[in-house]
């Protein structure tokens, strides 16, 4: 049973306010180590330098979008099995289906609350202690 305080989460979103909101929710859920990345390219650089247990990524980003990030993560042996949750808008069901076909572990629809995020994370990494 994973402890939230021992799980390192990377948030990838090009909107600073959305990163802030997501980090706030993760903190509410007990996560202590949260790494922020402002787009897919930034995320790939930070993945090389940091230990990450879970990625929560936006889809629409200027520089390497969420789907491309997912594909690169799945190709690299070190990160191929890294739990990956995609955050999308409610009208983006085609995006969700495409992400599923590319190996995403789960998705969360914006705007989400702490309860929804907890449910999604637990479905991917197991019930939090």
């Amino acid at each position: 049973m994973p402890k939230a305080s021992q799980v390192s989460v990377m948030i990838v979103d090009d909107q600073q306010s959305m990163r802030g909101i997501c980090k706030y929710i993760l903190t509410q859920l007990g996560f202590k180590e949260v790494i922020e990345a402002k787009n897919g390219r930034d995320a790939l650089g930070k993945l090389e330098r940091n230990h990450v247990d879970l990625i929560i990524s936006d889809w629409n980003m200027d520089d390497v979008d969420g789907l491309t990030l997912l594909k690169v993560v799945r190709k690299h042996p070190r990160t191929a099995k890294l739990p990956f949750i995609m955050a999308t808008g409610r009208s983006d069901q085609d995006q969700v289906r495409e992400a599923i076909s590319c190996g995403v572990n789960n998705y969360v629809i914006k705007p989400f609350d702490a309860g929804t995020m907890k449910k999604k994370i637990e479905a991917v990494i197991g019930t939090l202690a």
């Binding site: 909107q15 600073q16 306010s17 959305m18 802030g20 909101i21 980090k23 706030y24 929710i25 629409n60 200027d62 808008g89 409610r90 069901q93 969700v96 289906r97 599923i100 789960n106 998705y107 629809i109 914006k110 705007p111 989400f112 609350d113 309860g115 929804t116 479905a123």
Partner: protein
Amino acid sequence: MTAIASQKGQMLDRVGAVTVHQGDCLVTDSPDVTYSTVLGSCISACVRDTKAQVGGMNHFLLAVQSSSARDRFGESARYGAYAMEQLINLVLTKGTGRKSNLEIKVFGGGNINASITDVGAANAAFVRAFMADEGYVATSEDLGGAFARRVLFQPFTGRAFVKRLDSTINEGLMREELAHANQSIKPVEDDIELF
């Protein structure tokens, strides 16, 4: 009255305009479309890709009002940030995809009932903070004040027209906005099953 005069003296007919209701987010590249909305304490952002001549309008209200720092990322902020992100992403997707090509105009946030907390001021503060956080500068804004507004926006040209409305509509409009806000903030249900 069915027309609003622009600063250049042109008359903009609002009879054929598309109404943007609270919770809506509409985007178009059509030269014939005008969006129209009436704002009390609600906010509308008009976002346009200046290179692609694609633009849109949203209309939202932060349902839970709080001035505390804690609520900067609280329930209402989440809804507002999502409303802004949704519009920006739609314009980027239909347009050039470059944030540097966006121009944003923001309207609303009126204090239309002086007897209760200034909901409009909180909404105006939210949208200003959002713009600052994301590095956007409003090319035009008309926020606050003790009145409602009608806003017309032509996405193709980027022109926006604001008319300040008579205070007699304020009470009904405020009730309508708050009732809708309390319904619209529920988390979205999943509708795709993962294997």
